[in-house]
């Protein structure tokens, strides 16, 4: 079980590479530029990894996207829950 950490925008080639590599039991955390996925509720990953994809609150707030994430009912988590995810998923892979 792998936690995939995406640091780049949802329609970047990096995000496409990540999406190829995600297994059925894996989870996804969007950080840094990755949080701009909050602007794209139609991004295929939202549906494909439903209930195991998360956005980092701190990075959303910094970019002023927290209101939009809330309106789109996206799964926002804090730094503390980021730690929890790394406890749960033994492997992490960072896509940058």
């Amino acid at each position: 079980m792998i936690l995939h950490i995406l640091t780049k925008a949802p329609y970047s080639s990096v995000a496409q590479q990540m999406q190829q590599a995600i297994g059925e039991a894996d989870a996804v955390l969007l950080v840094e530029e990755g949080v701009t996925a909050a602007l794209s509720p139609s991004w295929t990953a939202w549906k494909a990894y439903h209930s195991r994809i998360y956005i980092l609150a701190e990075d959303l707030l910094a970019r002023g996207l927290n209101g939009i994430a809330e309106a789109n009912e996206l799964p926002v988590i804090g730094m503390d829950e980021f730690v929890t995810l790394t406890e749960k998923y033994a492997q992490t892979v960072t896509w940058y």
């Binding site: 950080v31 730094m79 940058y96």
Partner: protein, 129 residues
């Protein structure tokens, strides 16, 4: 649990060292042990003792030193990546005939073997780049 971090981005160029530092503090606050941070690729710039950001920006080198002082986190820097990019310790400066150095303890210049060793002995290993 024992954590290890790999940092591959330069401060003031990318935001990944900031992310790594926040995460480091969060795992320690949770009671985990952070065994070490390895700096590779452009991440070696985190170790520069010469960085002098404006007063209202974080001095990232200093922030790592404080992390080390408070929690005994090893700060290892890939020597090959560092030398290329103009980062050297006092002994490397002597060896290369340079008049100055900009990497000082607790940062240690070391080989890539340390990266692999850190990864192997960590229960969790996370890359920030």
């Amino acid at each position: 649990m024992q954590y290890g971090l790999l940092v591959m981005g330069a401060p003031y160029s990318t935001v990944s060292p900031h992310s790594a530092l926040r995460f480091a503090h969060a795992i320690i606050a949770r009671g985990h042990c952070l065994a070490g941070v390895f700096f590779y690729h452009d991440g070696v710039h985190n170790a520069s003792s010469l960085m002098a950001p404006p007063q209202d920006e974080l001095n990232m080198c200093q922030a790592w030193v404080e992390l080390h002082q408070q929690h005994e986190v090893a700060l290892d820097v890939c020597i090959a990546a560092a030398l290329r990019r103009g980062l050297m310790s006092e002994s490397e400066a002597q060896r290369h005939g340079k008049q100055a150095f900009n990497v000082a303890p607790p940062f240690e210049l070391t080989g890539l073997g340390q990266l692999l060793e850190l990864q192997q002995r960590s229960d969790r290993f996370i890359t920030f780049a």
